[in-house]
């Protein structure tokens, strides 16, 4: 999971010892929580439940993958519900459905992802050229997306009849649904972008010290826009995946995914201040939250307690993960 080489790339003036310790925290927490549930509950460790957890994690993993790039840059992205809602409705109306005669199949899916990327790019443009903080531009973009989705929704639920897209959620390869494989693919691509492309490395550097980057003659603007567009594409794909799961395009497809994704990323060790973490960290964070949600249901924690218990464990996990950094920074904002 952790790779020392990553830190070399980021070229941060931090002692590597502390970094690796912080990076090891979330995976250790994941293993501990997983083992705990596996020991106390037989049903939890059953094969079907393992499959179920990975399938459940798929959409959140893709969304978190996208948001990780934005967080790495030190920005925040609240546009998830809007972008996912718009792409979910768009894809439902573009592939074979009960509302119109479209049957674009894969092209429809790509258009929906493109819509997500376009909305992300728009957020990025507003941030860079109008100097509106990312918190506000993306919140606004979310509202725009939901508005567009509501317009396209037009009072009648579009149900998909496209077998290719429906198959994503139903068909399995090596025991895992296609959605899970797509998520794994996204994490791999995300990791490659983060590790081997200029875009990924600059995202880190912008989060670490944007001024330094600017002073060394790098024009950071296009990269910022590109990062938001990339994230938007991931959310768009997330919206398509929700549509595949539910068999219908919902305006509410992305409800709650914004904060679940940010939570997962932070739990995994990506800092909201930027410059740290990454796609693999976030993947660990996603698994952690999914294992936690599933485990609490499996062991039968009272449903009125679950929300609170889950929140508490997340806070403890994050606190444990940031102890090494706290010693160094001394400042908590």
């Amino acid at each position: 999971m952790t790779s020392p080489a990553e830190d070399v790339v980021a070229a941060r003036p931090q002692p590597r010892r502390g970094v690796s310790l912080a990076d090891a925290g979330p995976p250790i927490a994941l293993v501990v929580i997983f083992l705990f549930f596996a020991v106390v509950n037989t049903q939890f460790r059953s094969l079907t439940n393992m499959q179920n957890m990975l399938d459940t994690a798929a959409v959140l993993a893709v969304v978190t993958c996208g948001i990780s790039f934005v967080l790495m840059m030190g920005s925040i992205d609240l546009s998830v519900p809007g972008v996912m809602g718009a792409s979910a409705i768009a894809v439902a109306l573009l592939v074979a459905n009960n509302r119109n005669d479209n049957d674009l199949g894969l092209i429809g899916i790509l258009i929906a992802i493109g819509l997500g990327a376009a909305m992300g790019a728009l957020s990025g443009l507003t941030l860079v050229f109008l100097k509106v903080p990312s918190f506000m531009t993306t919140l606004g973009m979310s509202a725009v997306g939901l508005g567009v989705a509501t317009l396209m929704f037009n009072g009648v639920q579009p149900n998909i009849t496209d077998e290719f897209l429906q198959g994503w959620a139903v068909n399995r390869f090596l025991g895992l649904s296609y959605l899970t494989w797509i998520a794994i693919g996204c994490i791999a691509i995300g990791y490659l972008i983060q590790r081997f492309t200029r875009l990924g490395r600059y995202a880190y550097a912008i989060g670490g010290a944007e001024e330094v980057l600017a002073l060394s003659g790098v024009n950071v603007k296009p990269y910022k826009i590109a990062v938001f567009a990339l994230a938007g594409a991931f959310y768009g794909l997330g919206g398509v995946m929700v549509t595949s799961q539910l068999g219908a395009g919902l305006v509410q497809a992305g409800d709650g995914y914004d904060f679940s994704a940010i939570t997962a990323a932070v739990v995994g060790g990506t800092l909201l201040t930027g410059g740290r973490g990454g796609v693999l960290h976030s993947a660990v964070g996603v698994l952690l939250t999914v294992v936690l949600t599933n485990g609490l249901v499996q062991v039968g924690v009272n449903l009125y307690w679950q929300g609170g218990v889950q929140g508490l464990i997340v806070v403890v996990a994050v606190a444990a993960a940031v102890i090494p950094q706290r010693r160094r920074n001394q400042v908590v904002k």
Binding site: N52, A149, A169, G256
Partner: protein
């Protein structure tokens, strides 16, 4: 509305003007209009009545159908309905109402879906002050008495305990009165979720062969219901014979989870009668749902206000039990789904003599 440089001052003066206008018009009108009302209650000319329907959002099929029902009524009396939505945001709802009340409120009739219980008092107080005929639905604090108001004509809601029990019984029947079920609850701190689940518990008492294996919340959401159902299916496996859900969105999520798990032997019930649930009942994958008849709700709220505004009904003549009542709801299963799959309003329901016909009892 208009652009205002100093919103607070402008609002106050506008609402003052509105109140003054309303006062004048009440004194002026009365005899010459077509309505049969006379004496102290001022009657509006039929063509002067303004109709307003407000719900959370149009992206929800039920609420969209509600507004369509309002349009159907408005058309039947030769008027137009002003459609407002507030995205489930309480602040936005209050802003819209405040703004609207600051405008021309003469002969205005409002049919409102308050976002939550606590959103009702400011709305009806504002409407009372502005002299706007108001009908609210679903949400109202229990200790608020509609009969204390002159312009808050009626509050309509549905007995959640009853609907929860109806589908609980239908589920028990579908699984042959024997076997395990799981329950998906709504947002736990809402009255709808609590009442509906209480209905299920009442049903379980009568159907002793049915065992509640597990209950979880999926927050009325299709997406969450999918995840929770998958988890519960992997936890309880073949013991699950039926799934009780507190609304149709969750029922549809549960159906997707069953499909992905390759299970076809599980009965699913919900509440709300959204179009997708009706088609699922039609093709046999879903067992039952309960309809509150959204289009009727959208129409009747306006109809009640309209009848009072034109003087055909008088607020003081409306029986106390009709000021806040439970309306009739309908269990939909395979036998009668065809009657509900094309939601239509019946103009006869909106005649002034019939607007309270669906009342099944005062709110306890």
């Amino acid at each position: 509305m208009k652009l205002k440089s100093r919103p607070a001052a402008a609002l106050i003066s506008l609402s003052l003007a509105a109140v003054a206008l309303a006062g004048c018009s009440e004194e002026a009108s009365g005899g010459g209009n077509g309505g049969s009302g006379d004496g102290d209650s001022a009657a509006c000319a039929k063509e002067d009545v303004q109709l307003l329907g407000q719900v959370r959002n149009e992206s929800n099929p039920y609420e969209a159908a509600w507004l369509d029902g309002g349009d159907a009524f408005a058309e039947s009396v030769g008027l137009e309905q002003e459609r407002l939505t507030y995205d489930g945001d309480s602040t936005k709802q209050q802003d819209q109402i405040t703004q609207r009340l600051a405008g021309d409120t003469k002969c205005l009739v409002m049919n409102i879906l308050p976002n939550g219980d606590s959103d009702t008092p400011p709305i009806v107080e504002g409407a009372e002050a502005a002299g706007v005929y108001t009908v609210t639905q679903w949400n109202k604090p229990a200790d608020m008495n509609v009969a204390d108001y002159d312009y808050w004509i009626s509050h309509i809601t549905y007995d959640g305990v009853e609907s929860g029990k109806q589908i609980g019984d239908a589920l028990a029947e579908a699984i042959g009165g024997e076997g395990g079920i799981i329950a998906l609850q709504g947002v736990l701190d809402t009255a709808a979720a609590k009442d509906r689940f209480a209905g299920l518990e009442a049903s379980l008492e009568e159907n002793s062969g049915v065992e509640l294996l597990d209950q979880q919340t999926a927050n009325f959401s299709r997406d969450e219901a999918l995840t929770v159902t998958k988890t519960l299916l992997s936890k309880h496996g073949d013991k699950v014979k039926g799934i009780w859900t507190a609304n149709d969105d969750m029922a549809l999520g549960a159906l997707e989870a069953l499909k992905q798990a390759g299970r076809t032997d599980v009965a699913v019930v919900g509440i709300d009668a959204v179009p997708d649930a009706l088609s699922a009942i039609e093709d046999g994958t879903m067992t039952a749902t309960v309809s509150s008849d959204g289009p009727w709700q959208g129409g009747v709220g306006l109809a009640i206000g309209y009848c009072v505004a034109i003087g055909e009904l008088k607020v003081e003549d409306i029986a106390d039990e009709d000021r806040a009542f439970y309306a009739e709801q309908f269990l939909i299963n395979k036998d009668n789904v065809a009657d509900f799959s094309t939601p239509e309003t019946d103009p006869a329901d909106f005649e002034c003599d019939n607007v309270f016909n669906r009342a099944v009892g005062p709110i306890s």
